[in-house]
Assembly symmetry: C2
Homo-oligomer: 914 residues x 2
Amino acid sequence: MPCPGPAARAPALIRNGNSMAAWVYRFGPDHTDGHAGLTDELGGKGANLAEMSRLGLPVPPGFTITTRLSRYFFANGQTLPAGLETEVRDAVAAMGKITGATFGDPVNPLLLAVRSGAAISMPGMMDTILNLGLNDATVEGLARRSGDERFAYDSYRRFIEMYGDVVLGVDHGLFADLLDNFKNLNALASDTEVSAGQWRELIERFKEAIRSETGQDFPQDTNEQLWGAIGAVLRSWRNDRAESYRRLHAIPDDMGTAVTVQAMVFGNRGETSATGVAFTRNPATGTREIYGEYLPNAQGEDIVAGTRTPLRLTEKARAEFKAKDASLETAMPDAFAQLKDIFARLEAHYRDMQDVEFTIQEGKVWMLQTRSGKRSAEAALKIAVDLVGEGVISRDEAVMMVEPEALSHLLHPRIEEGVAKDVIARGLPASPGAATGEIVLTSDEAEVMRAQGRRVILVRVETSAEDINGMSASVGVLTQRGGLTSHAAVVARSMGLPCISGAGAIRIDLAQGTVRTASRTFSRGDLITIDGTTGEVLAGAVAMKQPELSPDFATLITWADTFRGLKVRANADTPRDAVQARKLGAEGIGLCRTEHMFFDASRILAMREMICAADEKGRRAALARILPMQRSDFVELFRIMEGDPVTIRLLDPPLHEFLPRHEAELGPIAEALGITLERLKTRVAELSEFNPMLGFRGCRLAIRYPEITEMQARAIFEAAIEAEKTLGRPVKPEIMIPLVAFRREFDILAGVIRNTAHTIEAQHGCRLSYQIGTMIELPRAALRARELSEGAAGAEFFSFGTNDLTQTCLGLSRDDAAPILSNYAGKGIFDRDPFVSIDEAGVGELVRIGVAQGRAGRPGLKIGICGEHGGDAHSVAFFHALGLDYVSCSPFRVPIARLAAARAAITARRRGAV
Amino acid sequence: MPCPGPAARAPALIRNGNSMAAWVYRFGPDHTDGHAGLTDELGGKGANLAEMSRLGLPVPPGFTITTRLSRYFFANGQTLPAGLETEVRDAVAAMGKITGATFGDPVNPLLLAVRSGAAISMPGMMDTILNLGLNDATVEGLARRSGDERFAYDSYRRFIEMYGDVVLGVDHGLFADLLDNFKNLNALASDTEVSAGQWRELIERFKEAIRSETGQDFPQDTNEQLWGAIGAVLRSWRNDRAESYRRLHAIPDDMGTAVTVQAMVFGNRGETSATGVAFTRNPATGTREIYGEYLPNAQGEDIVAGTRTPLRLTEKARAEFKAKDASLETAMPDAFAQLKDIFARLEAHYRDMQDVEFTIQEGKVWMLQTRSGKRSAEAALKIAVDLVGEGVISRDEAVMMVEPEALSHLLHPRIEEGVAKDVIARGLPASPGAATGEIVLTSDEAEVMRAQGRRVILVRVETSAEDINGMSASVGVLTQRGGLTSHAAVVARSMGLPCISGAGAIRIDLAQGTVRTASRTFSRGDLITIDGTTGEVLAGAVAMKQPELSPDFATLITWADTFRGLKVRANADTPRDAVQARKLGAEGIGLCRTEHMFFDASRILAMREMICAADEKGRRAALARILPMQRSDFVELFRIMEGDPVTIRLLDPPLHEFLPRHEAELGPIAEALGITLERLKTRVAELSEFNPMLGFRGCRLAIRYPEITEMQARAIFEAAIEAEKTLGRPVKPEIMIPLVAFRREFDILAGVIRNTAHTIEAQHGCRLSYQIGTMIELPRAALRARELSEGAAGAEFFSFGTNDLTQTCLGLSRDDAAPILSNYAGKGIFDRDPFVSIDEAGVGELVRIGVAQGRAGRPGLKIGICGEHGGDAHSVAFFHALGLDYVSCSPFRVPIARLAAARAAITARRRGAV
């Protein structure tokens, strides 16, 4: 047995045929080298085949070539190392001993399946070849031994198709066309009507097509076939789809793929044979029931391709979906019982729901794959909570089992009950949740419109790996074909996107840009709504409602709260936001953007008066009218937060945002303000800037017009006094000065705030309790953080404004970034969109410096973050590691942040424990 | 004698009357405590009075109260320490012994002058009180002992005026009005016609005015007078003018002022008395000659105020200026000889030109002040070079004597010889150089128009400390009144601004906004030209020529080159720039902005075609037409630089800069491009951005359109091959990739450049020698500099783009900063404009990190800087300290950078030697 320890990592070049270290890891009923812990070496598939073999489950014997070979292959000009051939030959011979068949033997031929498999699942990205080992001679042997000539020739033609496509590079459509023509000429309705003789005839045409396309014959030498297939699988690691998938999922290029070679078992050996895929629980709901599909008398690719509509495994499912064809449970009760037993053993062993592939050959179940199954967010929650209830896993394991991002779609709206629905089509409820968007018909369109800020629903015949980007740019996916385990369904669930698959009644016309149902036609850009929970497609938009969060949600998030160190606050500007935030568990407000209180039609006039005032007196008069509105908003926020911290940011945006954009609007406004149009135009011109992001905003406004800060401080303090009275507990506002770069900016405005506090204390005869802090949102502020926090009069808290910090650190305007970001993502310059997940190496370095410096200036300084990154799981883990006190995010992302914070703490604890 | 060592720094609070450490440092013919090294303790004036006393020069005896008192005073609620009174009383008594007079004695009264004086000169910022000790009784004694009743009462009324103004806060204008009314009523033409009796009468009115304004009597107690004056001088440290001056000149607030109390000597004791100011050399030209002015029978403030036109000191000067009144040389030959002797001793002692104040009392010269004199740039050069020639100072001392910034105006244009000049007025040639600008009449106007990017000439009756900001915002200053040592003249020379003072023929009407001469009227905004070298004021603009640099300039700069470590390159985009840069000593080009080559009318069409092309093919076609133009420019640059390094930056600005701003221009351009107006409009809209500074520019352009980089690389390499042939020496271009934030951006474009190089090497059968580097102009690039430089394929050089780095680090757009900067400067938030002198603490920290990280990635990495800061002396010193290899600046600032680099090296060496 090869040593899976250090020797397994020895460079290939110093190995040779005599060495102990091996390229090949065998698995089978009598001897298995690998195990589930070796996914880096063997890929997920190979490692779990080995693990299942060790468990004594029925796995066709075979071997896996380690991922080291993939790295060797690309590092050495796509050549193979010396010792490999012998190892493979020996392993194939060993398979022969187990199966009693011989590779290349015309009498009793051993047939092989050759599959790729990386450590991280990349579904459908790389290539697979089945039935390898068939040639003009062995096909006869297979026919004789199986007693089924039609099966043998069907298998042979499948092999030629796959081999021609994957290894020889012949367009797959060519074979499909030949088959279609042949069926038309011979009036054959489906593949199953094609006879053995007819397959033989077609095989000759296939071989001819290969000859004319490639200039060489289809190889009859089975060893040549095997090495051709191994090389093709290795090369497929670098095909465009795989590279793009890795970029999208931040999978390193040098991980490499393993190659698994396995004895074929046949689901297409007649009516007692079948192929299927299953989950050990329901991946959409999490219910503990066998869930999946099978096709009798078929091979695996028939299910994944979605070309035949598969049947249900259980009677319950068959009844629910009102399917006519028998479930596996009734059609093959014995095989179903085998599966049930296997699934129970798998769950007990892996301590998680499994996603398996199996083949039934003449009544016997063979396992071809097992892995942790992708699941909907609801299912993830239910499974995690159930497994704790079943005593299988611990609470921290449950928390680690649910991806925070998956929660996001539980928090998305669903269709309001009882509303009138204009149902135009129905399909399979492939991924729950509802969404309304404009119809797009290609992934490119989806990306373009998404970049324009539009919400789109991607409508496709079926999706493939090329559609990953388009799906991620859409708010929902609708396909004409494919089942619940089709590409569209699996990927949409993992993305938390609503999806309906197999809505067979729709017809897509790309040229016309239309989607037709029996009676109606919709065009690109028309609004539709999909309900991925029911499978209904609706015309237009409909009323949506907020989700009722399941008890499992509450249970898991409560467990999460016991693990996390980071506090989670919400960014909330209005009482409505604050109520929502409170419901979702926010422990305070981390960012209240006071300017958002002024865009209301009833208030903006006073704001405009302030902006257009000729002098300080005029500004003070307008501000005096704004004061009571602002105060009453703050009173509400303080009441809702019941004494929890509320961080209020002073006026921040460039003043021109309060003035109209279009000249036509100026006349009426000038009139309302009682100033001349000329004066208003002049003011608009004065305030217009080349780069507003880097202009007259943030504390710069208040340094110029300190009376704004005076009014805001007064509103905050008076509101605190009022709210304290009704709450009966102390209210301690945190006042935040934005866009500080220099200590003196902070000092000037902190002085205004403190003076206002003194005045109010004198007026009310009370002592105000409050803190003054600053946003850290400019590189200079992060670099000089010590200066900002030190001394009694320094900043009492920091909140990192990572949106602006990202803009300035990277020199990239968020408003202008879309085309640059998409170009850059395509070139692998960003691993992740830096406005979604914090750029740890760059922006994160400024945060790190800011934290260290800020706490050097003021030990124990309270530090939070209130950019969009506060609701992103990756970023939350980073902020946990930096020792921040809290994150603040939009209300709907509060649960995500709570879960992410818990996972970060658990991960850190586990690392520390190692 | 008090100990000037550690005890002098002991905190005031632990001192008491018995302590050895003293507040008071005496000076006089028999005993002197201080010396010139104690300017921090005694202020410049006090320290140099002590030094002159030690040298045995005639200095009226007195004492200086240390600056520690100023700090004590403000730290202790404006109170005075316990021991001070005794020390002052003893010191006054000692002065009495020397002079034979007694303070407060009605028979022979000792009179005092009380003056402020900080370690750094703040001319005219703080207050002075003369003739202190006069009251109704002592004035009689003074009259009797001097035998000049009129002198005594004139002195008394002057004292009351100053004391009323400075100590009691009575508006000075009140006294002036009383005097004017009195003269009108009594038909008196000038002050000299006022008799003793009339002064006595006026004195009563002055005292009455004080009573009615302040509710208290003018103090008759001479001790009360003294302590009132000391308190007022101390308080004047914090008056608005002084605070604003300190902010402008970055003088720390806690430096504090000393108070010097000195026995009065009288320049107003009749025709053998006088007061004067002088330079030991000509401060405008540097010529070794006595230069200055005096007023017979006058006190010091009469000269500084510019109210009487002063007379020349030397016959030569009198003849030159065709003055009628006698020079001091002929009027008081004996006193002139005393002065000449004193000046020679001062220069030998101080090893620099001195600026002195003196008083002649009845034929005897008394020195009241000496300090190093401010001088024009020409004079600074000549004096420094002459002093080396005279064996007085060394070459490094000469280099340290000339402020780099002063050179800037030597490099400004002067009026072309022989052009027609429309001379509208003449005045004194107060500060050399010529300038054309729009007329402004107030400093506020100057600042506002400057902020709009306009060039203005400040025209004032005379200037005062309040005009500092306005002067610095102007390109030249013209005053109606005042001499060569008037405020306007002194300040303009120190700023290197052209200035004409005392142009008596002009009349300024602020209300009308006009400047009139005898026959003509000019308005605000009209263009005029001033020639500060000749004193001529011209209507309109005239042809200017580049200065011929003096041999002294060449000598000093050559000496400087022997000291400096930093190389100095120029930012040059065109052959014309490059030639100019070469003339001024540039050692290569640090920044060639290739885009500047495309704004030429003949070239911009091809650029626009490239931008509007529908696809890569169209772009390549347009680029192919740009290639030969770009190549020929590069050939020229390489030839001019003769093998010295040339850094070429790839295309950087947002593409919309190449398209027209106004819609009206679009039609003809669409036609020229052969595309529809619609298409052009769409393209303009596509390229428009919210924050272009943070948008699609720099390397982001080339990542999207790599064919641009390919063309530019080809142009560079082909030009290098061609230039090498004609030069006969190797040309090694440095190709600079702008706006890099991520290593992969660099790798992608470096790959394009290297591939292009390989292609050209194959075509030409040669080996190209070149380097690829990057601008460090984003915070992320500085923070990740190690990643950018490391490995064989990393950046081979860095050039800090401190303009953009300042914009992003501070979050401040240069284009929008003007109003923010002026508001901030007024509030003391910036010490210096961060776009002029690098913000060392913030932006400088990023440079420091970038240098350390960059050299960690690639030991010995070549690093330069090519922002505007490369030509700023303060910044150059900072870059020297950080260990940069070179600075690059605009051609006209190359000599400034050379001198600044030398001074930085000398300063560092001296510090190291200590």
